[in-house]
Symmetry: C2
Subunit: 653 residues, 2 copies
């Protein structure tokens, strides 16, 4: 085991937070029922999901054709997983009954031999495992395994877990190094991380070994996905006729995983794979796999990540492009990819409590991820742009993928249920512990019961983070205990201060990789007060990022800001800001449930003299002063269609 700490189990943490509790409520009251309606094709004017219908047909309860994407089963899986997390901390018999019935349906759709997958059951019964490149069979299996684990942990009910163990056994009989088995892997990684979870909850090492097999096999020469395409007759699920040789870099199968040096290909596939690699490195003490994780992490976060925590800069293949290529307008930055980035960061954080992982996790969470959902919980972004010109989204086909307002549901609707499962499991991300330490990674009001070297430490966190940087932690101990309390000091923070029982403890504090560590013999009722000064920061990007040359963005704490047309008029590209500007942060209770807005003086290029309709003229550009107002990026696009930008021009002074 390379793991230094363990996450505190979800059932030992409850969130009670002015920022996050409304999201939890929204997820339970709106997102989960809305998505259930979506899975049942009951959302008017939205694309039907067909997910439940497919299971009913596969179960023999209904007649009909398969509908939706080949990976439609995974939408139900993610929904069940979210429900599992919700039920971990809440009694909710009505919801549990619906979920139990859905699980019964899944069971009825399972085949005699353990196989589960409605597409091949309904539509192409003879063709199981013949197109792993395109058809997401193992991907869907992985998601249902995650659901099974979550539901078991949340409710104690084994039914879905047993279903998925049967399926996992069937998969283990089908894949592996032994003769007669398929020496291959899925086109879309996901089962690898799910099998680790299945192992962790069942203790069955077969699942861990199978996961390791999939990871180790990937990218070996000759390439499995290419060979499979050859033996299939060079066809594709996604196109008619003979197709070109698959570009397996898209699937991160171009090289053995340990030889991959840069994040490449489809971003969600990439981060799901990296997550599994970190899991396996931790479980098996696999140092070479851990080295690969670190290399890929470094490349991704220091060369290919948007300031919002978005990853995957091109919509062509929903993919990474290359180092420092971070266009703000043609961007992809898929919601699911940032969620996967959070998974990866969370795993790395357990291997080694290093603030850089939590910093990225927090960046993705407070910006790209939270921003993907509307304040009504019923509309979602799949693509999370950093610059929007609504007319261009409509009229320039290169920007059609960038939607200026959140959409109801998608034909490929991976993101909304992914968001739901993240938000319902957020409690798992706040703390972790080891035999002699408690780590606080995230700041949100919560109550946790944490195992530290045999003792159970109660930890109550009170804060108005991210709007306010004051955090109060209160310990509840049956008896005094000596351990390290490690509090993350975010990289953006300068001048953090800690008081213990009202007294400053700067001198007893040791900084270790982004954590302020205080080792004391803690007493019941000890109060730790952390102050993280939240200043408005004007941020610049590495000059290699050509898209942001001469520009800056605003950040306050973990929250990235944006300018919207609703506050600043059009044309936002005409706005510029002096780098000396003194911005003020102010709480605005009127703004979408309330949040800190940033206000200051800016400049706007005059458009006078341009009415004649000419396009070009000798320069006589003049700028006038305007009052600027920036809102949290996560809140953009909730006030109608308009321009938005995260990065704005700076004025040299």
């Amino acid at each position: 085991m390379l793991q230094t700490t363990r996450p505190v189990p979800l059932k030992q943490v409850s969130i009670n937070d002015s920022y996050w509790s409304p999201y939890e409520k929204l997820v339970r009251q709106t997102v989960i029922p809305y998505q259930w309606d979506a899975l049942n094709d009951r959302i008017p004017d939205a694309e039907p999901s067909y997910a439940i219908r497919n299971f009913r047909i596969a179960a023999g309860l209904e007649k009909g054709e398969y509908g939706g994407m080949v990976f439609q089963d995974s939408d139900l899986a993610k929904w069940l997983e979210a429900v599992g997390y919700w039920l971990t901390g809440h009694d909710d018999p009505e919801l549990e009954q619906i979920a139990d019935a859905a699980i019964d349906l899944v069971g009825q759709a399972q085949q005699e031999d353990g196989y589960l997958g409605t597409f091949f059951t309904i539509k192409e019964p003879g063709k199981r495992w013949t197109n792993l490149h395109d058809c997401h069979e193992l991907y869907c299996a992985g998601h249902m395994m995650e659901a099974a684990v979550a539901y078991y942990k949340g409710t104690g009910k084994r039914k879905l877990l047993d279903i998925m163990c049967r399926f996992a056994d069937h998969i283990d009989d089908t894949f592996g190094p032994e003769p007669g088995k398929i020496q291959g892997y899925d086109g879309h990684q996901e089962i690898e991380l799910a099998l680790v979870k299945l192992y962790q909850v069942t203790g069955n090492e077969k699942y861990l070994k199978l996961s390791q097999f999939f990871i180790d096999e990937r990218g070996k020469a000759p390439n499995f996905l290419v060979q499979e395409w050859e033996s299939r007759g060079r066809t594709s699920h996604w196109a008619q006729g003979i197709t070109g040789k698959p570009n397996v870099e898209y699937n991160q199968a171009h090289l053995p995983v340990r030889e991959q040096k840069a994040a490449t290909g489809h971003a969600v596939r990439a981060v799901y794979m990296y997550t599994a690699m970190a899991d396996l490195a931790a479980q098996n003490g696999d140092q070479s796999l851990l080295d690969a994780c670190r290399t890929l992490w470094d490349n991704m976060v220091s060369r290919q990540m948007y300031i919002t925590g978005g990853i995957g800069s091109t919509h062509h293949g929903e993919a990474f492009s290359f180092d420092y290529d971070l266009p703000n307008d043609t961007v992809y930055a898929e919601t699911c990819a940032s969620i996967g980035l959070i998974f990866f960061a969370h795993r790395m954080l357990q291997i080694e409590p290093d603030g850089q992982y939590a910093d990225v996790l927090e960046r993705a969470l407070y910006n790209n991820v939270v921003g993907s959902m509307s304040s009504d919980g019923k509309h979602f972004f799949y693509v999370n742009p950093l610059e929007v010109w609504p007319q261009a989204s409509e009229k320039n086909p290169g920007l059609h993928h960038v939607k200026p307002i959140r959409q109801k549901w998608f034909a490929c609707s991976c993101c909304p249920p992914n968001l739901a499962r993240l938000l319902t499991s957020l409690g798992e991300y706040i703390y972790s512990s080891s035999d002699n330490a408690v780590y606080t990674h995230l700041y949100m009001g919560s109550q946790a019961q944490i195992d530290v070297g045999g003792a159970s430490v109660g930890l109550k966190q009170e804060t108005n983070y991210p709007w306010d940087g004051e955090v109060k932690l209160t310990l509840a101990l049956e008896e005094a205990k000596r351990f390290k309390l490690a509090l993350r000091i975010p990289a953006w923070c300068e001048g953090a201060a800690i008081r213990i029982n009202g007294e400053s403890k700067q001198e007893e504090l040791v900084m270790e990789k982004g954590y302020a560590v205080v080792e004391l013999n803690w007493q019941d009722g000890d109060v730790i007060q952390l102050t993280l000064p939240l200043e408005v920061q004007i941020i610049e990007a590495n000059p290699q990022v050509r898209a942001n040359a001469g520009k800056a963005a605003l950040q306050r704490g973990p929250v990235v800001y944006c300018l919207e047309e609703a506050d600043n008029g059009s044309v936002l590209a005409s706005v510029s800001v002096s780098t000396e500007t003194e911005f003020k942060a102010r709480f605005d209770g009127e703004l979408l449930g309330g949040g800190i807005v940033i206000e200051g003086e800016g400049y706007k290029d005059s458009d006078s003299g341009w009415q004649g309709g000419e396009l070009y003229r000798p320069i006589r550009r003049q700028a006038g002063r305007i009052a600027l107002r920036a809102i949290p990026y996560s809140m953009w696009g909730n006030r109608g269609k308009g321009e938005m930008t995260v990065w704005f021009r700076t004025r040299s002074s």
Copy 2:
């Protein structure tokens, strides 16, 4: 007739110019032979053209399959047209023999009933005229008609003209308002302008009427292209199976042409159509058609044109997107589209000598068009970007269409032969005349014999334009004649001065729509000296053009400049320039055959402190001074792969 002036026929103009004569030479010595080799599939490592081979197969001289694009015939047509123009001013028996043989081959490929088109002759003999939307039959016919007219005018040889009249007669029997004929038009406009040329050279009004029919019919409801798709069984030449309803805005067939208000759809189709509309408006005195031309012109040049004279801002459909959407990196700006823009401008200029038409013509010619060819005459740009980051072109699929260096030949190789035919007919664009006036639209060393109200006026032009603004015009007259001499004063020019026989004539000069008009009783040997002060201008774009916000470009006379990595290092986005900079223009004989470069002081953002690999930090951007060097845009990409930008950041001072 709405026409005010007539172009001076090509055979009455010869170019002898330090800037353009090398291009003429390059076209004759390299481009024409190289393209002939290309048409014959003799270029190593380049995509085969199949053009000649298709004609040989259609003529029964060879067995084989049709090769290349469905419109491959047009490449030979444009080549023949270029040769026709070349032969207009030059004795060149060797080339003429090759062209005559090619024309013989075209004749042999013509069918009994007059039909000409190798695709349907070889590949789908029963399917003529069943897919006008996709298959370019009339488009190819149009190009061969243009070739026939050029070759006839250049050599006096009627063979190709007769072939094409037979084909035009066949088309006239096939299309028209009469019962039993197809009431339709081509998916790619071209034949409309060609039929006007055929009418002008034959006097056969049938051809003019047919052109008018195609233009008037276009966009009427119910839509022909949609109906055709229905009756074809909803198939497409470009895709397998059943296809979606064609988006006829792409073909400018969404509305009757007189109701179209904005340039839209495929840019080349658009400008070829506008050219024909202007031709028909002029020929038939059609005021409503002229009004439509003006509306479309205004929209295009004042809202949808790059500073280089490029049009069509998206590669999706090689099309216009919408007003002020002029991205510099994802740009299309196809060479052929700018050539078509020149055609349209030239027609409008004959209807009404207004400097705005010649200004745009000149902008497109000296920048986008000339820049599309390498200095060796063997490599071409199809797409003409205003900003290039070579790595992005390679690794970001959204920029794959933007090539950082010119390519040998293209599978769809419309642009190189289009360029050849423009450069060989450039003499036609310099002058025009009416009964009492001679207009000089372009400044290039040349000798012309111009008809003015029955008299033949010899006009010799000497200049080093565009590097130098001094132009000397010498008149040769058999006897004194009173007429107006109108000299274009470009919109970018301030302080133009005219001397006649050494004396300043500012007071006798009347400005009329961008032309300095002097009416005198001219004598043999009169010398007119025009001085167009060429200053380096720092140009800004309309603030609605978001892509150029806070940026500027350099222009000197008609020549737009760019920064290249070869001169200014990488990262070009880090460069900024004060708007007060005093730039110096200097002739550099070493630069690709010689040209004026622009030099001055700029700033470059320091990259110090960024080596640690972080992506974002609180701003502390600092810029150091650097020596900047800009070269003419038309010369970019000739010194290896590197970054290039036309627009650079300005510093507020």
